[in-house]
Amino acid sequence: MKSNLKFVSGDEAVALGVRLARPHVISAYPITPQTIVVERLADFVEDGSLKAEYMHVESEHSAMAAAMGVSSVGARAFTATSSQGLLHMAECVHYASGARFPIVMMNANRSIAVPWSIYGDQRDSLGLLDSGWIQVYVEDAQEALDMMIQAYKVAEHPEVMTPFMVNLDGFVLTHTYEPVEVPDQKQVDDFLPMYQSTNKMSMDEPKSLCFSTSPADNQEFKYMQHKAMEGSVDIIREVDAEFGQVFGRYYHGMTESYRCEDAEAVLMTLGSVTGTVRTVVDMLRAEGHKVGVFKIRYMRPFPQDEVKELGKLGSRVGVLEKNISFGNEGTVFTNVNSVFSTLEKRVESKNYVGGLGGRDITKEDIRGIFMDLLSKEPFTERVEFIGMGCDTNE
Protein backbone atom coordinates (compact mmCIF):
# COMPACT_ATOMS: atom_id res chain seq x y z
CA MET A 1 0.00 0.00 0.00
CA LYS A 2 1.37 3.35 -1.07
CA SER A 3 0.98 6.04 1.51
CA ASN A 4 2.94 8.68 3.30
CA LEU A 5 3.17 10.03 6.81
CA LYS A 6 2.60 13.70 7.57
CA PHE A 7 2.77 15.62 10.84
CA VAL A 8 -0.33 17.78 10.79
CA SER A 9 -3.05 19.35 12.92
CA GLY A 10 -6.60 18.03 12.99
CA ASP A 11 -7.75 20.85 10.72
CA GLU A 12 -4.98 20.10 8.23
CA ALA A 13 -5.88 16.43 8.33
CA VAL A 14 -9.43 17.37 7.41
CA ALA A 15 -8.17 19.45 4.48
CA LEU A 16 -6.02 16.53 3.30
CA GLY A 17 -9.00 14.20 3.53
CA VAL A 18 -11.20 16.61 1.63
CA ARG A 19 -8.61 16.95 -1.11
CA LEU A 20 -8.54 13.18 -1.51
CA ALA A 21 -12.36 13.12 -1.77
CA ARG A 22 -12.22 15.54 -4.72
CA PRO A 23 -15.21 17.82 -4.14
CA HIS A 24 -16.21 19.94 -7.15
CA VAL A 25 -16.90 23.06 -5.12
CA ILE A 26 -15.86 24.30 -1.69
CA SER A 27 -17.89 27.09 -0.16
CA ALA A 28 -15.94 28.68 2.62
CA TYR A 29 -16.43 31.15 5.42
CA PRO A 30 -13.88 31.38 8.23
CA ILE A 31 -14.56 30.83 11.91
CA THR A 32 -12.19 29.88 14.69
CA PRO A 33 -11.17 27.07 15.17
CA GLN A 34 -12.19 25.81 11.72
CA THR A 35 -10.13 28.38 9.78
CA ILE A 36 -7.13 26.22 8.98
CA VAL A 37 -9.35 23.83 7.06
CA VAL A 38 -10.52 26.50 4.62
CA GLU A 39 -7.05 28.08 4.48
CA ARG A 40 -5.40 24.82 3.47
CA LEU A 41 -8.09 24.05 0.94
CA ALA A 42 -7.54 27.49 -0.57
CA ASP A 43 -3.82 26.64 -0.81
CA PHE A 44 -4.62 23.33 -2.50
CA VAL A 45 -6.86 25.00 -5.06
CA GLU A 46 -4.26 27.69 -5.67
CA ASP A 47 -1.40 25.24 -6.17
CA GLY A 48 -3.54 23.06 -8.41
CA SER A 49 -3.36 19.97 -6.24
CA LEU A 50 -7.14 20.16 -5.81
CA LYS A 51 -9.21 20.75 -8.94
CA ALA A 52 -12.18 22.44 -7.33
CA GLU A 53 -13.95 25.78 -7.40
CA TYR A 54 -13.31 27.73 -4.23
CA MET A 55 -16.25 29.96 -3.44
CA HIS A 56 -15.82 32.84 -1.01
CA VAL A 57 -19.23 33.25 0.55
CA GLU A 58 -20.24 36.06 2.84
CA SER A 59 -21.68 33.96 5.67
CA GLU A 60 -22.19 30.41 6.89
CA HIS A 61 -25.84 30.63 5.90
CA SER A 62 -24.67 31.27 2.36
CA ALA A 63 -21.93 28.63 2.64
CA MET A 64 -24.56 25.95 3.11
CA ALA A 65 -26.97 27.49 0.59
CA ALA A 66 -24.19 27.52 -2.00
CA ALA A 67 -23.28 23.92 -1.14
CA MET A 68 -26.92 22.98 -1.72
CA GLY A 69 -26.82 24.74 -5.08
CA VAL A 70 -23.76 22.67 -5.98
CA SER A 71 -25.44 19.46 -4.87
CA SER A 72 -28.65 20.36 -6.71
CA VAL A 73 -26.95 19.76 -10.04
CA GLY A 74 -25.32 16.55 -8.85
CA ALA A 75 -21.87 17.90 -8.03
CA ARG A 76 -19.89 17.17 -4.85
CA ALA A 77 -19.84 19.94 -2.25
CA PHE A 78 -17.83 20.60 0.89
CA THR A 79 -18.00 23.25 3.56
CA ALA A 80 -16.80 23.64 7.13
CA THR A 81 -17.95 25.62 10.13
CA SER A 82 -18.09 25.86 13.90
CA SER A 83 -20.24 27.07 16.76
CA GLN A 84 -21.96 30.39 15.98
CA GLY A 85 -21.42 29.67 12.32
CA LEU A 86 -23.23 26.36 12.54
CA LEU A 87 -26.09 28.07 14.32
CA HIS A 88 -26.14 30.86 11.75
CA MET A 89 -26.54 28.28 8.99
CA ALA A 90 -29.02 26.22 11.03
CA GLU A 91 -31.92 26.93 8.67
CA CYS A 92 -29.88 25.61 5.77
CA VAL A 93 -28.65 22.61 7.77
CA HIS A 94 -32.22 21.36 8.09
CA TYR A 95 -32.89 22.34 4.48
CA ALA A 96 -30.03 20.25 3.11
CA SER A 97 -31.19 17.08 4.81
CA GLY A 98 -34.81 17.59 3.80
CA ALA A 99 -33.61 18.09 0.23
CA ARG A 100 -31.56 14.89 0.54
CA PHE A 101 -28.34 16.56 -0.59
CA PRO A 102 -25.28 14.45 0.33
CA ILE A 103 -23.15 17.39 1.41
CA VAL A 104 -20.22 16.79 3.74
CA MET A 105 -19.38 19.38 6.36
CA MET A 106 -16.67 19.55 8.97
CA ASN A 107 -17.68 21.15 12.24
CA ALA A 108 -15.13 22.27 14.80
CA ASN A 109 -16.97 21.75 18.07
CA ARG A 110 -16.92 25.01 19.94
CA SER A 111 -18.82 26.65 22.75
CA ILE A 112 -21.90 28.74 22.05
CA ALA A 113 -22.02 32.40 23.13
CA VAL A 114 -22.65 33.92 25.60
CA PRO A 115 -20.34 34.12 27.47
CA TRP A 116 -18.17 34.24 24.36
CA SER A 117 -15.54 31.58 24.09
CA ILE A 118 -13.62 30.27 21.13
CA TYR A 119 -12.84 27.05 22.96
CA GLY A 120 -14.40 23.69 22.67
CA ASP A 121 -17.52 21.98 23.81
CA GLN A 122 -20.15 20.06 21.91
CA ARG A 123 -23.20 22.20 22.41
CA ASP A 124 -23.15 23.48 18.82
CA SER A 125 -23.62 20.22 16.94
CA LEU A 126 -25.64 18.48 19.66
CA GLY A 127 -28.05 21.39 19.42
CA LEU A 128 -28.63 20.35 15.82
CA LEU A 129 -29.12 16.66 16.49
CA ASP A 130 -32.63 16.84 15.05
CA SER A 131 -31.54 18.52 11.82
CA GLY A 132 -31.45 15.28 9.86
CA TRP A 133 -27.66 15.14 9.42
CA ILE A 134 -25.52 12.14 10.07
CA GLN A 135 -23.19 13.15 12.90
CA VAL A 136 -19.88 11.51 13.66
CA TYR A 137 -17.46 12.61 16.41
CA VAL A 138 -13.85 11.75 15.75
CA GLU A 139 -11.09 11.17 18.25
CA ASP A 140 -7.88 12.09 16.48
CA ALA A 141 -6.44 13.66 13.32
CA GLN A 142 -6.11 10.34 11.49
CA GLU A 143 -9.74 9.52 12.06
CA ALA A 144 -10.66 13.04 10.95
CA LEU A 145 -8.86 12.56 7.64
CA ASP A 146 -10.25 9.09 7.08
CA MET A 147 -13.79 10.13 7.92
CA MET A 148 -13.84 12.82 5.22
CA ILE A 149 -13.51 9.99 2.72
CA GLN A 150 -15.95 7.66 4.46
CA ALA A 151 -18.42 10.53 4.90
CA TYR A 152 -18.93 11.06 1.17
CA LYS A 153 -19.25 7.33 0.57
CA VAL A 154 -21.98 7.00 3.21
CA ALA A 155 -23.78 10.27 2.41
CA GLU A 156 -23.92 9.59 -1.33
CA HIS A 157 -25.08 6.00 -1.00
CA PRO A 158 -28.35 5.84 -3.00
CA GLU A 159 -30.24 4.50 0.00
CA VAL A 160 -28.83 7.15 2.32
CA MET A 161 -28.67 10.45 0.40
CA THR A 162 -28.28 12.36 3.62
CA PRO A 163 -25.76 15.06 4.51
CA PHE A 164 -22.89 14.19 6.80
CA MET A 165 -21.28 16.25 9.58
CA VAL A 166 -17.82 15.32 10.83
CA ASN A 167 -17.20 16.80 14.26
CA LEU A 168 -13.78 17.58 15.72
CA ASP A 169 -13.27 18.99 19.21
CA GLY A 170 -12.18 22.60 18.83
CA PHE A 171 -8.46 23.25 19.51
CA VAL A 172 -7.95 19.99 21.42
CA LEU A 173 -8.25 18.21 18.10
CA THR A 174 -8.35 20.90 15.41
CA HIS A 175 -5.06 22.45 16.51
CA THR A 176 -3.13 19.49 17.90
CA TYR A 177 -0.36 18.09 15.70
CA GLU A 178 -0.14 14.37 15.17
CA PRO A 179 1.47 12.06 12.64
CA VAL A 180 -1.13 11.10 10.07
CA GLU A 181 -0.97 8.59 7.27
CA VAL A 182 -2.23 10.09 4.03
CA PRO A 183 -3.79 7.50 1.74
CA ASP A 184 -2.91 7.17 -1.90
CA GLN A 185 -5.14 9.17 -4.26
CA LYS A 186 -5.63 6.28 -6.66
CA GLN A 187 -6.85 4.03 -3.86
CA VAL A 188 -9.22 6.73 -2.64
CA ASP A 189 -10.55 7.24 -6.17
CA ASP A 190 -11.31 3.52 -6.40
CA PHE A 191 -12.92 3.51 -2.96
CA LEU A 192 -14.92 6.68 -3.60
CA PRO A 193 -15.98 7.02 -7.22
CA MET A 194 -18.00 10.06 -8.30
CA TYR A 195 -21.61 9.50 -7.35
CA GLN A 196 -24.61 9.46 -9.62
CA SER A 197 -27.88 10.85 -8.40
CA THR A 198 -31.36 11.36 -9.80
CA ASN A 199 -32.03 13.98 -7.15
CA LYS A 200 -30.72 16.79 -9.29
CA MET A 201 -31.57 19.37 -11.89
CA SER A 202 -30.61 18.03 -15.27
CA MET A 203 -30.80 19.34 -18.81
CA ASP A 204 -31.99 15.93 -20.04
CA GLU A 205 -34.69 15.53 -17.42
CA PRO A 206 -35.60 18.93 -15.97
CA LYS A 207 -36.68 18.77 -12.35
CA SER A 208 -38.19 21.01 -9.75
CA LEU A 209 -36.34 20.62 -6.47
CA CYS A 210 -37.16 21.43 -2.87
CA PHE A 211 -40.85 21.61 -3.65
CA SER A 212 -43.68 22.18 -1.18
CA THR A 213 -46.26 19.64 -0.11
CA SER A 214 -49.68 19.87 1.42
CA PRO A 215 -50.32 18.08 4.72
CA ALA A 216 -51.51 15.17 2.57
CA ASP A 217 -47.95 14.34 1.51
CA ASN A 218 -45.48 16.06 3.83
CA GLN A 219 -45.26 13.35 6.47
CA GLU A 220 -44.35 10.70 3.90
CA PHE A 221 -41.21 12.63 2.99
CA LYS A 222 -40.24 12.96 6.64
CA TYR A 223 -40.85 9.23 7.09
CA MET A 224 -38.54 8.44 4.17
CA GLN A 225 -35.90 10.74 5.65
CA HIS A 226 -36.15 8.92 8.97
CA LYS A 227 -35.95 5.51 7.35
CA ALA A 228 -32.94 6.52 5.26
CA MET A 229 -31.16 7.72 8.39
CA GLU A 230 -32.03 4.53 10.28
CA GLY A 231 -30.87 2.44 7.34
CA SER A 232 -27.60 4.34 7.14
CA VAL A 233 -26.41 2.36 10.19
CA ASP A 234 -25.76 -0.65 7.98
CA ILE A 235 -24.08 1.46 5.32
CA ILE A 236 -21.87 3.11 7.93
CA ARG A 237 -20.75 -0.31 9.17
CA GLU A 238 -20.17 -1.60 5.64
CA VAL A 239 -18.21 1.45 4.54
CA ASP A 240 -16.07 1.39 7.66
CA ALA A 241 -15.32 -2.30 7.18
CA GLU A 242 -14.44 -1.78 3.53
CA PHE A 243 -12.27 1.17 4.45
CA GLY A 244 -10.48 -1.05 6.94
CA GLN A 245 -9.79 -3.65 4.29
CA VAL A 246 -8.48 -1.13 1.77
CA PHE A 247 -6.59 1.27 4.02
CA GLY A 248 -5.85 -0.85 7.07
CA ARG A 249 -7.68 1.34 9.55
CA TYR A 250 -11.01 0.26 11.00
CA TYR A 251 -13.04 2.40 13.40
CA HIS A 252 -15.48 -0.21 14.72
CA GLY A 253 -18.54 1.28 13.04
CA MET A 254 -21.00 3.08 15.25
CA THR A 255 -19.18 2.84 18.57
CA GLU A 256 -15.93 1.63 20.01
CA SER A 257 -15.87 -0.38 23.17
CA TYR A 258 -12.68 -0.65 25.24
CA ARG A 259 -12.33 -3.10 28.15
CA CYS A 260 -16.07 -3.07 28.79
CA GLU A 261 -16.80 -6.81 28.74
CA ASP A 262 -16.29 -7.49 32.44
CA ALA A 263 -16.40 -3.87 33.63
CA GLU A 264 -18.29 -2.86 36.76
CA ALA A 265 -18.14 0.77 35.66
CA VAL A 266 -18.24 2.05 32.11
CA LEU A 267 -17.84 5.64 31.03
CA MET A 268 -19.40 6.69 27.74
CA THR A 269 -17.66 9.38 25.77
CA LEU A 270 -17.90 11.46 22.63
CA GLY A 271 -14.88 12.75 20.72
CA SER A 272 -11.32 13.45 21.75
CA VAL A 273 -11.74 13.04 25.51
CA THR A 274 -11.90 9.29 24.83
CA GLY A 275 -8.10 9.11 24.61
CA THR A 276 -7.69 10.49 28.12
CA VAL A 277 -10.40 8.19 29.46
CA ARG A 278 -8.70 5.17 27.85
CA THR A 279 -5.47 6.09 29.63
CA VAL A 280 -7.30 6.33 32.95
CA VAL A 281 -9.02 3.00 32.27
CA ASP A 282 -5.61 1.38 31.79
CA MET A 283 -4.31 2.98 34.98
CA LEU A 284 -7.32 1.85 36.99
CA ARG A 285 -7.23 -1.62 35.47
CA ALA A 286 -3.59 -1.83 36.56
CA GLU A 287 -4.82 -1.01 40.04
CA GLY A 288 -7.35 -3.85 39.80
CA HIS A 289 -10.50 -1.84 39.08
CA LYS A 290 -12.86 -3.27 36.52
CA VAL A 291 -13.54 -0.26 34.33
CA GLY A 292 -14.04 0.40 30.63
CA VAL A 293 -14.75 3.14 28.16
CA PHE A 294 -17.44 3.11 25.49
CA LYS A 295 -16.94 5.68 22.75
CA ILE A 296 -20.03 6.80 20.88
CA ARG A 297 -18.88 7.68 17.38
CA TYR A 298 -22.22 8.42 15.77
CA MET A 299 -24.88 10.48 17.49
CA ARG A 300 -27.09 10.28 14.38
CA PRO A 301 -28.07 7.73 13.46
CA PHE A 302 -27.94 6.71 17.12
CA PRO A 303 -26.13 3.41 17.84
CA GLN A 304 -29.16 1.69 19.36
CA ASP A 305 -27.89 -1.90 18.99
CA GLU A 306 -24.48 -1.20 20.46
CA VAL A 307 -25.78 0.83 23.39
CA LYS A 308 -28.34 -1.88 24.11
CA GLU A 309 -25.64 -4.54 24.17
CA LEU A 310 -23.58 -2.42 26.53
CA GLY A 311 -26.61 -1.99 28.80
CA LYS A 312 -26.98 -5.74 29.02
CA LEU A 313 -23.51 -6.11 30.55
CA GLY A 314 -24.86 -4.91 33.89
CA SER A 315 -22.20 -2.28 34.64
CA ARG A 316 -22.93 1.08 36.18
CA VAL A 317 -22.75 3.56 33.32
CA GLY A 318 -21.60 7.15 33.32
CA VAL A 319 -22.13 9.46 30.38
CA LEU A 320 -19.51 12.16 30.06
CA GLU A 321 -20.40 15.00 27.73
CA LYS A 322 -19.41 18.56 26.94
CA ASN A 323 -22.99 19.56 26.72
CA ILE A 324 -26.04 20.37 28.80
CA SER A 325 -29.66 20.82 27.83
CA PHE A 326 -30.51 23.46 30.40
CA GLY A 327 -33.24 22.43 32.76
CA ASN A 328 -32.94 18.75 31.94
CA GLU A 329 -29.68 16.86 31.43
CA GLY A 330 -27.05 16.26 28.77
CA THR A 331 -28.52 15.25 25.44
CA VAL A 332 -26.17 12.31 25.00
CA PHE A 333 -27.34 11.03 28.38
CA THR A 334 -30.98 11.38 27.31
CA ASN A 335 -30.31 9.43 24.13
CA VAL A 336 -28.43 6.68 25.97
CA ASN A 337 -31.12 6.29 28.64
CA SER A 338 -33.84 6.09 26.04
CA VAL A 339 -32.14 2.96 24.70
CA PHE A 340 -31.53 1.59 28.21
CA SER A 341 -35.22 2.00 28.95
CA THR A 342 -35.96 -0.76 26.42
CA LEU A 343 -33.98 -3.28 28.49
CA GLU A 344 -35.59 -5.61 30.95
CA LYS A 345 -33.04 -4.96 33.66
CA ARG A 346 -32.62 -1.34 34.69
CA VAL A 347 -29.20 0.17 34.02
CA GLU A 348 -27.88 2.49 36.69
CA SER A 349 -26.63 5.56 34.89
CA LYS A 350 -25.38 9.01 35.69
CA ASN A 351 -24.58 12.09 33.65
CA TYR A 352 -21.26 13.90 34.03
CA VAL A 353 -21.18 17.30 32.40
CA GLY A 354 -17.81 18.93 31.89
CA GLY A 355 -15.44 20.60 29.52
CA LEU A 356 -17.83 23.44 28.79
CA GLY A 357 -16.26 26.47 27.12
CA GLY A 358 -12.94 24.66 26.72
CA ARG A 359 -12.34 23.62 30.31
CA ASP A 360 -9.91 20.72 30.54
CA ILE A 361 -11.26 17.37 31.59
CA THR A 362 -8.35 16.01 33.58
CA LYS A 363 -7.31 12.48 34.43
CA GLU A 364 -8.20 13.30 38.03
CA ASP A 365 -11.69 14.30 36.96
CA ILE A 366 -12.08 11.01 35.13
CA ARG A 367 -10.66 8.99 37.99
CA GLY A 368 -13.18 10.72 40.27
CA ILE A 369 -16.00 9.74 37.92
CA PHE A 370 -14.92 6.11 37.89
CA MET A 371 -14.65 6.07 41.69
CA ASP A 372 -18.18 7.48 41.88
CA LEU A 373 -19.40 4.78 39.49
CA LEU A 374 -17.50 2.00 41.26
CA SER A 375 -18.90 2.87 44.69
CA LYS A 376 -21.93 0.78 45.43
CA GLU A 377 -23.68 3.89 46.78
CA PRO A 378 -26.87 4.91 45.01
CA PHE A 379 -26.37 8.04 42.95
CA THR A 380 -27.37 11.15 44.88
CA GLU A 381 -27.82 13.23 41.73
CA ARG A 382 -28.62 12.43 38.14
CA VAL A 383 -26.48 15.18 36.60
CA GLU A 384 -23.16 16.31 38.00
CA PHE A 385 -21.02 19.15 36.71
CA ILE A 386 -17.44 17.97 37.01
CA GLY A 387 -14.33 20.09 37.28
CA MET A 388 -16.08 23.11 38.80
CA GLY A 389 -13.53 25.74 39.78
CA CYS A 390 -15.33 26.87 42.90
CA ASP A 391 -17.71 25.64 45.57
CA THR A 392 -21.25 25.30 44.25
CA ASN A 393 -22.82 24.19 47.54
CA GLU A 394 -23.39 27.56 49.16
Binding site: G98, A99, R100, M161, T198, N199, K200, E205, P206, K207, S208, L209, C210, F211, T213, A216, D217, E220, F221, Y223, M224
Partner: protein, 103 residues
Protein backbone atom coordinates in the same frame (compact mmCIF):
# COMPACT_ATOMS: atom_id res chain seq x y z
CA UNK B 1 -46.27 24.20 -26.69
CA UNK B 2 -47.34 24.02 -23.14
CA UNK B 3 -47.34 21.18 -20.67
CA UNK B 4 -50.54 19.16 -20.59
CA UNK B 5 -52.57 18.06 -17.63
CA UNK B 6 -51.95 14.42 -16.88
CA UNK B 7 -53.78 11.78 -15.00
CA UNK B 8 -52.35 11.45 -11.54
CA UNK B 9 -52.83 8.76 -8.97
CA UNK B 10 -51.83 9.53 -5.42
CA UNK B 11 -49.14 7.14 -4.17
CA UNK B 12 -50.65 4.25 -2.30
CA UNK B 13 -47.27 2.87 -1.28
CA UNK B 14 -44.32 4.78 0.13
CA UNK B 15 -42.11 3.50 -2.69
CA UNK B 16 -44.29 5.36 -5.19
CA UNK B 17 -43.21 8.70 -3.79
CA UNK B 18 -40.13 10.40 -5.23
CA UNK B 19 -37.23 9.52 -2.92
CA UNK B 20 -36.44 13.21 -2.40
CA UNK B 21 -38.60 16.34 -2.71
CA UNK B 22 -37.71 16.61 -6.41
CA UNK B 23 -40.17 16.06 -9.22
CA UNK B 24 -40.45 16.20 -12.96
CA UNK B 25 -40.75 19.82 -14.11
CA UNK B 26 -43.86 20.77 -16.07
CA UNK B 27 -45.91 18.06 -14.37
CA UNK B 28 -49.47 19.41 -14.24
CA UNK B 29 -52.39 17.64 -12.64
CA UNK B 30 -54.99 20.38 -12.19
CA UNK B 31 -56.40 23.18 -14.35
CA UNK B 32 -57.09 26.74 -13.31
CA UNK B 33 -60.30 27.28 -15.29
CA UNK B 34 -62.46 27.14 -12.18
CA UNK B 35 -60.96 30.41 -10.93
CA UNK B 36 -62.66 32.44 -13.62
CA UNK B 37 -65.61 34.80 -13.27
CA UNK B 38 -65.13 36.54 -16.60
CA UNK B 39 -63.85 34.95 -19.75
CA UNK B 40 -61.95 36.68 -22.57
CA UNK B 41 -63.37 36.27 -26.08
CA UNK B 42 -61.18 37.16 -29.04
CA UNK B 43 -62.78 38.60 -32.13
CA UNK B 44 -60.55 37.34 -34.95
CA UNK B 45 -61.99 39.95 -37.30
CA UNK B 46 -60.70 42.76 -35.11
CA UNK B 47 -57.42 41.14 -34.03
CA UNK B 48 -54.44 42.63 -35.85
CA UNK B 49 -51.95 40.11 -34.48
CA UNK B 50 -49.83 42.63 -32.55
CA UNK B 51 -49.28 39.97 -29.84
CA UNK B 52 -49.49 42.49 -26.99
CA UNK B 53 -51.95 40.19 -25.19
CA UNK B 54 -49.63 37.22 -25.70
CA UNK B 55 -46.77 39.24 -24.25
CA UNK B 56 -48.52 40.39 -21.08
CA UNK B 57 -50.61 37.34 -20.15
CA UNK B 58 -49.56 36.31 -16.61
CA UNK B 59 -50.56 32.72 -17.27
CA UNK B 60 -49.15 32.32 -20.77
CA UNK B 61 -52.49 31.03 -22.00
CA UNK B 62 -52.55 33.13 -25.15
CA UNK B 63 -50.80 31.52 -28.10
CA UNK B 64 -50.21 32.68 -31.64
CA UNK B 65 -52.01 30.85 -34.37
CA UNK B 66 -50.48 30.18 -37.75
CA UNK B 67 -52.18 33.18 -39.33
CA UNK B 68 -50.67 35.36 -36.61
CA UNK B 69 -53.87 35.72 -34.62
CA UNK B 70 -54.27 34.50 -31.06
CA UNK B 71 -56.08 31.69 -29.29
CA UNK B 72 -56.65 31.11 -25.62
CA UNK B 73 -56.14 27.99 -23.53
CA UNK B 74 -59.25 28.20 -21.40
CA UNK B 75 -58.05 25.38 -19.16
CA UNK B 76 -55.56 27.73 -17.58
CA UNK B 77 -57.01 31.21 -18.17
CA UNK B 78 -57.93 32.79 -14.83
CA UNK B 79 -59.94 35.57 -16.43
CA UNK B 80 -57.87 38.46 -15.09
CA UNK B 81 -58.79 40.65 -18.05
CA UNK B 82 -55.33 42.08 -18.71
CA UNK B 83 -55.52 40.94 -22.34
CA UNK B 84 -58.80 42.76 -22.94
CA UNK B 85 -57.58 45.88 -21.18
CA UNK B 86 -54.29 45.96 -23.03
CA UNK B 87 -55.69 45.22 -26.51
CA UNK B 88 -55.23 48.38 -28.55
CA UNK B 89 -57.95 47.48 -31.04
CA UNK B 90 -60.50 46.18 -28.56
CA UNK B 91 -60.49 42.74 -30.12
CA UNK B 92 -60.93 41.01 -26.75
CA UNK B 93 -64.00 41.35 -24.60
CA UNK B 94 -64.65 39.94 -21.15
CA UNK B 95 -67.92 38.07 -20.77
CA UNK B 96 -69.47 36.66 -17.61
CA UNK B 97 -68.40 33.03 -17.42
CA UNK B 98 -71.91 31.64 -16.92
CA UNK B 99 -73.19 33.47 -20.01
CA UNK B 100 -70.63 31.88 -22.25
CA UNK B 101 -71.98 28.37 -22.66
CA UNK B 102 -70.00 27.32 -25.66
CA UNK B 103 -66.73 27.30 -23.72
Amino acid sequence: MRPKVRAYKRPSKISEYPSAPAFESGHLVTKNAGWRTFVPIVDPEKCVGCLRCYLVCPDGVIARTENNKVEIDYDFCKGCGICAHECKVKAITMKKEADEDEI
